[in-house]
Amino acid sequence: MSLPEKPPRKAGLLMIVSAVMASFLGIRRRNDYESDAASLSLGQVVIAGIVGGIVFVAGVVVLVKVVMANLTSGN
């Protein structure tokens, strides 16, 4: 007798974020990808990707502000 199949785990926020961050780096472990495939929906990924893009831009802007502040204070 085979065991009943477990329903796919619902994706948590951390899992979505880690999938998007992995995509920005371009590296994903097979196990992580398989659990992504089982529990993430396309809509979640697209929204998280766009939010990730905004966070990426904001992160670079903050980095630039820090660099600029150091530049001006160095003078």
Binding site: L25, G26, I27, A37, V57, V60
Partner: protein
């Protein structure tokens, strides 16, 4: 991938029935994805030759300093039309041709989702091409502002500019319709069991490219429409004299233009992934990583546009932002190079023509990527902007990148399309001649650029002569080498050795389950993927 064999009984005599109507009307009215794919491919190859002839005229003029062959005004028209024709008339339609032929075959669909729209998408191309080419013969000549169409030049030129604007509108409509078709086909017509993450990478790359096209083509259409209203309807969007801002155009153009770079290259990534996997006899390394990275590039490509315009005036903080963002977006692209290399690692490699072009792609595209990183540094770019270094860089990505991957795909799928094998020796000769002459043409242009030779100028200082002569000889060698592929394809269609359904030992995927040549109708009964 397991395919239920019961479903493969689709190949029956009626699949290859006679076509009605016959002759020219067959091609004018066809809704068949294979017919339309073939037309896209022939059209793009013809435009590749037209754009190539323009490039050879440019290189002939640059063989010596001074003006010998064309007037400067015509030289500017040639550089402009060469760019527009190669990007919109050759590379993009070539990959749409691949998509039309291969996506339904690869996902087990009987055709594209919208057959008539597919027909219209193709038949919009010839009028657009005609407008571009015919614009050379109108008063004032063709558009001569460079393919980037920067004002104020675009506001001042003759009716050739209006024809170019109209051509871009038409090409944009065609691309958007093609993309809607591709997205709908992939999302709705996949065979049972063909989940998104089981799709071949070529389909994935096209899914993301199609989204990019729909996102950015309207932006280009908006930019050229604003140019049109500036020219004829009294607006001053880009006219400084009327309170407008020419730099605004550059921002809008490159917000389209940078994703466009990825539109051109991403389907090539898909082709190369499949070719490398087949001839390494291994599944592609990091399939999921590739999908994730390509999707990420699709989003991040919108955040780096102004690295094309560091010298047009922007605050240092903006320069820093675009420099950092550009460097970072190189990471997911770079990872793909490692994935392809890892796919080959300890594989059972063989070096048929498609594999040679794919390896040539990896090697030369990486060089193009590195010179892109050099240009991404704002401080360096101030020196390099509008020099031949930029010309060398983007030809490494467009020719050795997009064109080489298209040749890899052409040789890879030609047996499936025609039912015959091409001449392998001639294919390999085509690769080696293209490889050597490509580098002869474009590698030296890095040195010319570093030494300060400006692009889009028909004359140059004496010290640039030798490198320009090498480049011109290389260009003619490269151009003439392409006649080999014409001969090889035609002789393959007419008299090549009969190809089996799966001519490549390591090939995987649904397209190899149907006979060669692929019958006119395939997958009328969808296969079941287990």
């Amino acid at each position: 991938m397991n395919i239920a064999t019961a479903a493969n009984g689709h190949v029956t005599a009626h699949d290859d029935h006679d076509h009605a109507p016959k002759g020219m009307m067959r091609w004018l009215t066809t809704t068949n994805h294979k017919d339309i794919g073939s037309m896209y491919l022939w059209f793009s190859f013809f435009m590749f030759l037209v754009g190539g002839c323009m490039a050879l005229t440019i290189r002939s003029e640059l063989f010596q300093p001074g003006l010998q062959i064309v007037r400067p005004e015509f030289f500017n028209q040639l550089t402009t039309l060469h760019g527009l024709i190669m990007v919109f008339g050759a590379i993009m339609p070539a990959f749409v041709g691949f998509a039309n032929w291969m996506i339904p075959l690869q996902i087990g669909a009987s055709d594209m989702a919208f057959g008539r729209m597919n027909n219209w998408s193709f038949w919009l191309l010839p009028p657009a091409a005609l407008l571009l080419v015919a614009s050379m013969f109108v008063p004032g000549g063709a558009a001569a502002a460079g393919w980037t169409l920067y004002p104020p030049l675009t506001i001042q030129q003759g009716m050739g500019m209006d024809m170019a604007i109209f051509a871009i509108h038409i090409l944009g409509i065609s691309s958007i319709m093609g993309s809607i078709n591709i997205i709908t086909t992939i999302l709705n017509l996949r065979a049972p069991g063909m989940t998104l993450m089981k799709m071949p990478l070529f389909c994935w790359t096209w899914l993301i490219t199609a989204y990019l096209i729909i996102a950015v083509m309207p932006i280009l259409a908006g930019a050229v429409t604003m140019t049109l209203t500036d020219r004829h309807f009294g607006t001053h969007f880009f006219s400084a004299a009327g309170g407008g801002d020419p730099v605004l155009f550059q921002h809008i153009f490159w917000f389209f233009g940078h994703p466009e770079v990825y539109i051109v290259i991403i389907p090539g990534f898909g082709v190369v992934s499949q070719v490398i996997s087949t001839f390494s006899r291994k599944p592609v390394f990091g399939y999921a990583s590739m999908v994730y990275a390509i999707a990420a590039i699709g989003i991040l490509s919108f955040t780096v546009w102004a690295h094309h315009m560091y010298t047009t005036g922007m605050p240092i903080s903006a320069q820093l932002y675009f420099m950092y963002a550009t460097m970072l977006i190189a990471v997911p692209t770079g990872v793909k190079i490692f994935n392809w290399t890892a796919t080959m690692w300890r594989g059972s490699l063989s070096f048929e023509t498609p594999m040679l072009f794919a390896i040539g792609f990896i090697f030369l595209f990486t060089l193009g990527g590195f010179s892109g990183l050099v240009l991404a540094m704002a401080a360096v770019d101030v020196q390099m902007q509008d020099t031949y270094y930029v010309v060398a860089h983007f030809h490494y990505t467009m020719v050795a990148g997009a064109l080489f991957s298209a040749f890899a795909g052409l040789y890879y799928w030609l047996p499936k399309w025609t039912g015959h094998m091409y001449n392998e020796k001639m294919g390999q000769l085509h690769f080696w001649l293209s490889f050597v002459f490509f580098n002869m043409t474009f590698f030296v242009q890095h040195f010319l650029g570093i030494a300060g030779m400006p692009r889009r100028i028909p004359d140059y200082a004496l010290q640039f002569t030798e490198f320009n002569q090498i480049s011109t000889i290389g260009a003619f060698g490269f151009g003439l080498s392409q006649l080999l592929v014409v001969y090889n394809v035609i002789s393959c269609m007419r008299s090549g050795e009969k190809a089996p359904a799966k001519p490549w030992e390591g090939a995987e995927g649904l397209e190899w389950e149907v006979p060669s040549p692929a019958p006119h109708h395939t997958w009328e009964v969808q296969p079941i993927i287990k």
